[in-house]
């Protein structure tokens, strides 16, 4: 029902009624009615979806506002009796300094995102658009690195980095990010393969270098994919846990995920303060997502340039 009208198009094309075979022209009023019905249907589905998807977020908010006693209530109390906003201050700066943990996380994440972007674009282009004898073999190796459970390379990697003296520094978390992430290389490669060959051939005839083709054709046409990689890389590094646990030893060097763990002791969890801090911690991701998803609105349509 809605499928026909997607593709980032606007104006006339999506407004057309879903035509059945054989095509039968609709009057303007009929078309308008169908269009409205479609739109109403879409909103109903989206709002229903919103209710389902927003629940954990609401749960976090109400939990963050509960009193210490309400933390334990069972059956769970959905709404606190009164709002305990002080949990945000208690959690963030009442005992340990979470601003420090936040800045540590920002540093690691920003450098890692940057490293991922730089180091994934070039190999992805090579795998998508260049021929070489070893290409298939290397692509196989790339894919294989994704398939090996990381639990089993974690300790050998740890030993490697401790030989380099990198334990209790951020280097093991940042440096490898500058050498390509298989998942993102594969993702970008898939997007690069959808770009019409005619565009590249035309540019080659004009004498453009490979870097120029990458910069002027591939990247602008793959913005949504780049935005997606930015987002995944940001989220992944922001929430990185297992590796942080073993590489970061000193408490002052902790990241937010490690800091969040400290609201739990062996027997109990300070849910209200923890959720308050977790809410603050997730805000940068929400903002990054909101920026990234804007590249999906306008759409990088190939109208007019795809000569087919």
């Amino acid at each position: 029902m809605l499928v026909g009208s997607h593709g980032g198009s606007h104006g006339g094309s999506h407004g057309r009624a879903p035509a059945r075979k054989p095509p039968r022209p609709l009057t303007a009023t009929q078309a308008e009615r169908v269009r409205r019905a479609q739109r109403a249907g879409a909103y109903v589905l989206l709002i229903a979806g919103t209710v389902v998807f927003v629940l954990p977020f609401l749960w976090m908010i109400t939990t963050s506002l509960k009193s210490d006693a309400e933390n334990l209530a069972f059956p769970p109390q959905w709404l606190p009796d009164s709002f305990h906003w002080e949990n945000f201050v208690r959690g963030w700066a009442g005992s340990l300094d979470y601003t420090t943990f936040m800045l540590n996380t920002v540093l690691i994440t920003a450098l890692s995102v940057l490293g991922n972007l730089i180091s994934c674009v070039l190999p992805a282009y090579a795998f998508a658009r260049m021929r070489a004898g070893a290409a298939t073999l290397m692509f196989g190796a790339l894919m294989a690195t994704m398939m090996i459970p990381r639990e089993i390379t974690l300790v050998p990697k740890f030993i490697l980095f401790s030989k380099l003296g990198w334990v209790d520094t951020y280097l093991p978390l940042i440096v490898p990010e500058f050498f390509g992430v298989a998942l993102y290389v594969f993702l970008l490669r898939q997007f690069f393969t959808t770009i019409p060959q005619e565009l590249i051939d035309a540019a080659r005839i004009d004498g453009a270098s490979e870097l120029r083709i990458l910069w002027r054709i591939m990247l602008p046409l793959s913005k949504p994919a780049l935005a997606a990689i930015c987002l995944f890389s940001f989220v992944g590094n922001w929430n990185q846990y297992l590796e942080s646990v073993i590489y970061i030893r000193t408490t002052e060097k902790f990241t937010l995920p490690l800091g969040l763990g400290l609201f739990t002791d062996q027997y109990a969890t300070q849910y209200n303060q923890m959720m308050a801090v977790a809410l603050i911690a997730m805000m940068p991701i929400v903002i990054i997502f909101f920026i990234a998803q804007k590249t999906f609105i306008r759409g990088v349509t190939l109208t007019g340039i795809a000569g087919r």
Partner: protein, 476 residues
């Protein structure tokens, strides 16, 4: 098109400027440490005066001034040394630790402390990796079920020599039952950082409502089971359980649920499974009936949720067997009135597992003497009084700590009595195969809890599967 490009640029710019922000932040941070404390609105976070709402710095300072610290013949380091101390903690305990370190540095100006923290869940992963990488901390936390494995792999230093050189160590202040986990071939490798027996807790409100008499020293497990049946009521969210937890495989399963009836999970040397013996089958059947026939303990489905919100803590269980360490939280809550007494007697006697964790000094440490000075004070009676924990291994710290935490004095006396009379490490699993044995037994027992297999079948299957794992316990 242009807009899109701009957005991508904005994203990249945001990413690129962040390290700058962070770098600035880093600078500010150092400056803050030197000069102005961070204003938080609630109170101030001053690295030179660590504290929070639970542990204000002024209180810590006054308490510290009132305490005297034991003497030792182990010398102070002649020049500045740094020791690394790795413990599990949470935000509240961590602040107390920081305060301890603060005053420790004043007493020992030549010892600098580098503190490493971890959640309980992440601790072993973190430090096993460090062990593989060849750099363990000087002082390290140890759960009672890890120490024997570390000792067997020669990771830990025996402490007996340091103890001999410390005339005010007061060995008789530590309950012998709690030390067995850390002893091997006559040498002691760890000192308890908390230690407590398990008690029978009861919810006075629920007993009053049912018009029943509170549990006391005279109770047997038969009385308890019978009372649990009577106290069980309601369903769904308002359900009241007569007793929690439901008996299931755990390191101290035997001590709490089986030894009173003359049955065991594993043999005393932990190399044979005994959970399918006739006595064990009879006893486990009794516990299972309490769930399946009477519905008086939480079912698997009910526990799935309640694990996060304990039925006892939320006032949904009339009776509960747990360690003395839960009293810190219990004393704070106002939701229901509670009491505690001796665990019930069984036909074969009364048993309460004394369990706790330890601090150890690693064999690779180059600052063993400074490390000793640290744990000697941290784990002394004064150290325990300073930390104000509700399960101090030092008996002399029980009463002062109970008073400070609002735990009734008679309950503290009760704990001391249990530790002196019948608390034991008997039956508590501690050898390397413990985790595997428990994890292997659990899913099989869960099928019995779901009513899919009968007790005998389940216990035989546990014996068959756990048996081969125990070879690992014959550690060299």
């Amino acid at each position: 098109m242009e807009m899109n490009r701009r957005q991508i640029l904005a994203l990249a710019a945001a990413a690129a400027t962040m390290p700058v922000i962070a770098a600035c932040g880093g600078d500010t941070r150092q400056r803050q440490q030197a000069t102005a404390p961070v204003k938080t609105g609630l109170q101030t976070l001053d690295p030179n005066r660590p504290g929070n709402e639970t542990w204000p710095f002024a209180e810590a300072e006054a308490l510290n001034d009132s305490l005297t610290w034991p003497r030792t013949n182990v010398p102070e380091p002649a020049a500045k040394v740094t020791i690394t101390v790795a413990t599990t903690s949470d935000i509240i305990a961590e602040v107390r630790n920081l305060q301890f370190d603060h005053f420790f540095r004043k007493r020992h100006p030549n010892i600098e402390i580098k503190r490493e923290t971890s959640t309980f869940d992440g601790f072993l992963t973190k430090y096993m990796a460090q062990a593989a990488g060849g750099s363990l901390p000087d002082v390290m936390y140890n759960h009672y079920s890890w120490t024997q494995n570390f000792i067997a792999n020669r990771i830990l230093t025996p402490l007996d020599d340091f103890i001999a050189r410390s005339p005010e160590f007061a060995a008789d202040d530590l309950p012998e039952a709690g030390l067995a986990y850390f002893r091997r071939d006559g040498a002691l490798y760890g000192l308890p950082t908390d230690m407590a027996p398990k008690l029978l807790y009861f919810n006075k409100d629920l007993f009053d409502k049912a018009g029943l008499k509170y549990p006391d020293e005279s109770w047997t497990f038969d009385t308890m089971v019978e009372t649990a049946r009577k106290l069980k009521s309601g369903s769904g969210a308002t359900k009241i359980y007569g007793f929690s937890p439901t008996a299931k495989p755990a390191p101290d399963l035997a001590t709490v649920f089986l030894l009173p009836f003359g049955a065991r999970f594993l043999s005393a040397d932990e190399t044979r499974v005994e959970i399918n013996s006739p006595e064990a089958v009879r006893t486990m059947s009794m516990w299972l009936d309490l769930l399946l026939k009477d519905g008086a303990t939480p079912s698997l489905a009910e526990e799935l949720l309640l694990e996060k919100v304990d039925p006892w803590k939320s006032g949904h269980a009339a009776m509960h067997i747990n360690g003395a360490w839960i009293m810190t939280e219990l004393a704070k809550q106002k939701a229901f009135a509670w009491g505690a007494t001796h665990v019930p007697k069984g036909p074969k006697g009364r048993f309460s597992p004394a369990v706790g964790s330890a601090l150890v000094i690693t064999e690779g440490s180059r600052q063993k003497e400074a490390a000793w000075l640290y744990i000697y004070e941290f784990l002394s009676s004064s150290g325990y009084r300073f930390r104000r924990i509700s399960a101090p291994a030092r008996q002399s710290a029980w009463l002062p700590n109970a008073e400070a935490l609002g735990i009734p004095a008679e309950t503290a006396e009760l704990v001391k009595e249990i530790l002196a009379d019948y608390a034991t490490s008997e039956g508590v699993l501690r050898l390397p195969a413990t985790k595997k044995a428990v994890d292997t037994a659990k899913p099989i027992w869960e099928r019995a809890l779901l009513g899919k297999i009968d007790v005998k079948t389940a216990l035989d299957e546990i014996a068959a599967k756990v048996g081969p794992l125990l070879a690992e316990n014959q550690i060299a």
